[in-house]
């Protein structure tokens, strides 16, 4: 690959560069898919099911179609069958089905001249349902008499008496036998999601030959591929444009809205805009699974963690990501990544029942698998340390993964195996040290709950790990074009959903070409213009795409140097790039402007770069340590987070401004997960009861302290700039740190997220601890 060391005299990478779109965003100028306005455009609305599980016996759309202003109505009959082959393990995406699987599942869609007519038309669609029994509680799947509520069964790859997957290390019974202290706890986590502020939109236009789609998607090539498949179109017949997206957090990948708008546009023969209402967005995003974990953990009196035994019930919802495979991967990684983090725990057995229920879809949301696993593990180990009288920080540090340790890896073959590999870089200890100092860990109550008065303060911590780019299977390509005026353009398939990908990537290009950031422009987010890229998901952009981008810039650079040397009459290693020139190394007077060199090359230099995830034998992961100080009002149960110190190892920070922003944003989302967010369902019907922002809040400016970001920068050897991904590692350790701080403050533990005031009060008022 060519280890390029750009640390010396780095003038762009590592700098706090202003985001390239910053000014435009302050003017409200960037266009999001919802802002696209085309002549003759129709508005679409979706009809949703009132039942959690039912067969659709008949849909009569005639009255809706007859309403003046309605131009198209679609149902499952309009969806080309068998284009997405659904089978167990890849249950596919049901765009509009002949059965519904959750309250709010999509049944039909309408395109009309305006939103009012479209909504009126929905009322006129008559659906005959045959209501069927539904499953809402995952544990019920273990009762033999529970009816099967899904074509592939209730328990993914399992049954009422056999789990979906099992993780084993050593012999857990022996391990528990060696423990002096064993604690057994039940943890619950409500279903949560990214809840970005922009509800998704898809605008579709069909001109008889080509389908153009503007879509709020983090995966524009995924959407393109899906559209080609569904409509049996060739790649040159489909264009997907994303432009700007108002937040992603994993939930804006490829979903039914990307297909419903095109179906309507083709049927109506007019452009169609489907802009989800907040209700649509709530019912058609995917959620982290609701979880119940029963965990036993054992330790010796002198501080050795000997065993962890766990059983988890995972509410996979109606579709678990893109079929069962995603839930399997998520659940597999849930066990194995945190158990790889606690490498020194010898004996582990973890069973997971991934249950298909009639709740909304689940899938990979920010921090996937590790948000799910770290809350129970970081909390039970904190409590176990307390039981044996040891500082939890020391207890955890003792058992953590170290450089050179061999990973056990994912349980499932998630395209890439981590098994047998080692971590490329890790800074967990440095994160813990830095955070510990910043919060002043010694101020922590030596005995929990010792504060006086109704308001009690405490400090808690948690560590975390997450994938950081190398083990996602999407390839990446990039191009760097230089024209005859010396203007540089980065062609990147990554989209901007808020983590400033384009700024960071352009910094890498600028660094390689020895130019200021202003000299690098770019095109992104349009499948007609940019090369293949998996998308800004899974913390992979700076890593996987960044490597491709750097290689493209290096390719352009070496073409410049070769041609420039030729024109200057020197050998290629006798010249260098400086200030937009190709100059002779020891005689900068002899030089040519980049544009002149490009002219000499025939008018355009194209640099190309590629990255393939199988190329490195090492595994890149991010690490973090979060320290929280809370004040618990024991009269009201309200928890205020006074301080949140979060030290993140994301390798070298290409742009510290951006990395700090991700730590701060992740901190706020973590506070939401800890204290506020969670879906509530009506038990008998499975109806989602929350109305986001009103019933289940996300943190407002009043709920979040100034998150204190600390950037820890071990050099990542497999990346030319030493960087890793950073946008997810920032969320994971926050909720457990807060939970542990609440325990330190009050002497009581809450095992149920979100830790809303009613739950806190209940625990405080109950005698003793769990």
């Amino acid at each position: 690959m060519g280890q390029a060391n750009y640390t010396e005299g780095s003038s762009v990478v590592g700098q706090r560069i202003r985001p390239v779109q910053g000014v435009d965003k302050t003017k409200g100028k960037p266009l999001y898919p919802a802002d696209i306005d085309l002549p003759g455009m129709l508005w679409a609305k979706i009809l949703r099911s009132p039942h959690a599980r039912a067969k659709i016996l008949n849909i009569d759309t005639s009255r809706a179609e007859a309403l003046q202003g309605v131009e198209a109505v679609i149902t499952h009959k309009d969806v080309p069958k068998d284009r997405f082959e659904a089978k167990e393990g890849n249950e596919g995406l049901t765009i509009l089905g002949d059965e519904v699987r959750y309250v709010g599942d999509a049944v039909a869609a309408v395109a009309a001249v305006d939103q009012n007519v479209a909504e009126e038309a929905l009322q006129l669609i008559k659906v005959d349902y045959e209501v069927l029994p539904a499953l809402f509680e995952p544990e019920k799947a273990l009762h033999q008499d529970t009816p099967t509520c899904h074509p592939y069964g209730n328990v993914m790859y399992g049954d009422w008496n056999s789990p979906t997957l099992e993780y084993r290390r050593g012999n857990v019974d022996e391990g528990l036998g060696k423990a002096d202290v064993i604690i057994e706890r039940e943890f619950k986590q409500a279903s949560t999601s990214g809840i970005p502020m922009e509800p998704r939109a898809c605008v579709a236009q069909w001109d008889g030959k080509k389908l153009s789609v503007w879509d709020s998607s983090q995966r524009l090539f995924g959407v393109k591929q899906g559209l080609c498949q569904l409509f049996a179109l060739a790649p040159d017949q489909v264009r997907v444009v994303t432009g700007n997206i108002g937040g992603g957090f994993g939930v804006k990948e490829c979903d039914r809205h990307s297909f419903i708008a095109p179906l309507l546009a083709i049927k109506a023969n007019k452009p169609v805009k489907l802009w989800y209402t907040r209700e649509d967005e709530s019912l058609d995003c995917y959620y982290r699974p609701g979880l119940t974990h029963r965990i036993k953990a054992g330790a010796t009196k002198d501080g050795h963690l000997t065993a962890i035994q766990a059983r988890s019930f995972y509410d996979g919802g109606a579709w678990a990501g893109f079929g069962g495979a995603e839930a399997l991967n998520l659940a597999g990684a849930m066990c194995s990544r945190v158990m790889d983090l606690y490498h020194k725990c010898p004996d582990v057995h973890w069973e997971v029942y991934c249950v298909r229920t009639n709740h909304p879809k689940t899938g990979p949301v920010r921090g996937r698998s590790d948000v799910e696993s770290h809350f129970p593990i970081e909390c039970i180990l904190d409590e176990l340390a307390e039981e044996i009288g040891m500082d939890p920080l020391e207890f955890k540090l003792k058992h953590l993964l170290r450089a050179g340790d061999v990973l056990e890896g994912h349980l499932t073959v998630d395209i890439l195996l981590q098994r047998g590999k080692t971590i490329s870089s890790l800074g967990t200890e440095e994160c813990v040290d830095a955070g510990k100092k910043a919060i002043d860990w010694d101020r922590r109550n030596k005995a929990a709950g010792q504060g006086k008065g109704p308001k009690k303060r405490g400090i808690g911590m948690a560590v975390a790990t997450h994938n950081s780019g190398s083990t996602q299977y999407y390839k990446s390509e990039a191009k760097v074009d230089i024209d005859s005026e010396g203007r540089v353009s980065l062609l990147s398939g990554s989209t901007d959903q808020g983590s400033e990908q384009q700024t960071t990537l352009r910094q890498m290009v600028a660094e390689v070409l020895r130019l200021p950031i202003e000299a690098v422009g770019g095109i992104s987010g349009d499948t007609d213009a940019v090369p293949l890229e998996g998308g800004p998901i899974a913390s992979r952009t700076v890593y996987a795409h960044g490597i491709a981008v750097t290689r493209a810039a290096q390719d352009a650079r070496s073409q410049l140097l070769k041609k420039g040397a030729e024109l200057l009459g020197h050998s290629p290693d006798g010249v260098e790039l400086k200030d937009g020139m190709v100059a002779v190394k020891d005689n900068h007077e002899k030089r040519l402007a980049m544009g002149e060199v490009v002219k000499g090359s025939g008018g355009m230099i194209h640099g190309e770069g590629r990255f393939s995830p199988l190329e490195t034998p090492l595994v890149t992961q991010g690490f973090a340590a979060t320290f929280a100080e809370v004040e618990v009002d024991t009269d009201t149960g309200k928890v205020e987070v006074l301080r949140l110190v979060s030290a993140n190892d994301a390798g070298r920070a290409i742009n510290p401004l951006v990395v700090e922003g991700q730590i701060q944003g992740g901190g706020a989302q973590g506070i939401g997960l800890a204290l506020m967010e969670g879906v509530a369902y009506d038990p008998p019907t499975g109806t989602m009861l929350n109305q986001w922002f009103l019933d289940s809040g996300v943190p407002s400016i009043l709920d979040v302290p100034d998150v204190e970001p600390i950037i820890i920068e071990p050099w990542e050897p497999t990346h030319p700039f030493g960087a890793k991904g950073c946008s997810e590692i920032s969320v994971i350790s926050v909720a457990p740190a807060i939970a542990n701080a609440i325990s330190n403050a009050t002497g009581k533990r809450i095992y149920d997220l979100p830790m809303t005031p009613d739950k806190v009060l209940k625990v405080l008022q109950e005698g003793g601890n769990r």
Partner: protein, 170 residues
């Protein structure tokens, strides 16, 4: 058309005569009739504040106001904030910090902040937080936003006497 009314709206100092469905919200009108897409929509039920505009200098949720209520009332949106090429100090400060990540809440945050700074030249951190508490952001964690508003306040102080929100109270 049924249920329609002629309305004269004053947006960013410009008058617009529109024939609107009485049910149209100010938000729909700004976006779909006047094609001013800078004002966003996050929920349409007053839960998130991403649709915030100024009405006689006060921040309001444009999703929760009918256009017909705005007859002759001065409305200011993000598009009206910067003059020819010159950024408002809030825009400068937001761009300088990392106060806009995905950018969706940014117009609303800036308008809510403007309403504050136009009536209080020297706000405290708590003043800023309360003034912005009606706009949700999911990306930033808010710290850089507060920093940007305070920075803008410093930049605006000598000019407060000059600036006067269109038609609004001082």
């Amino acid at each position: 058309m049924e249920n329609s009314k002629q309305v004269r709206l004053e947006i960013n100092g410009q008058s617009h005569e529109l024939t609107l469905d009485c049910r149209s919200t100010l938000n729909e009108t700004l976006r779909n009739h006047l094609r001013l897409f800078g004002t966003k929509l996050g929920c349409n039920y007053g839960g998130c504040g991403n649709c915030t505009v100024l009405m006689t200098g006060r921040p309001v949720y444009s999703c929760s106001i009918l256009a017909v209520e705005c007859e002759g009332v001065a409305i200011n949106t993000i598009e009206g904030l910067s003059g020819e090429g010159e950024l408002h100090p809030l825009q400068e400060a937001f761009a300088d910090a990392y106060a806009a990540q995905c950018g969706w809440c940014t117009p609303a945050m800036i308008m809510a902040a403007k309403a504050l700074l136009d009536r209080k030249a020297d706000p405290t951190v708590q003043d800023v937080k309360i003034a912005l508490s009606g706009v949700l952001c999911r990306c930033t964690g808010y710290t850089e936003i507060v920093k940007a508003v305070l920075q803008a306040a410093k930049g605006m102080q000598p000019q407060v006497a000059k600036r006067n929100p269109t038609g609004g109270p001082n």
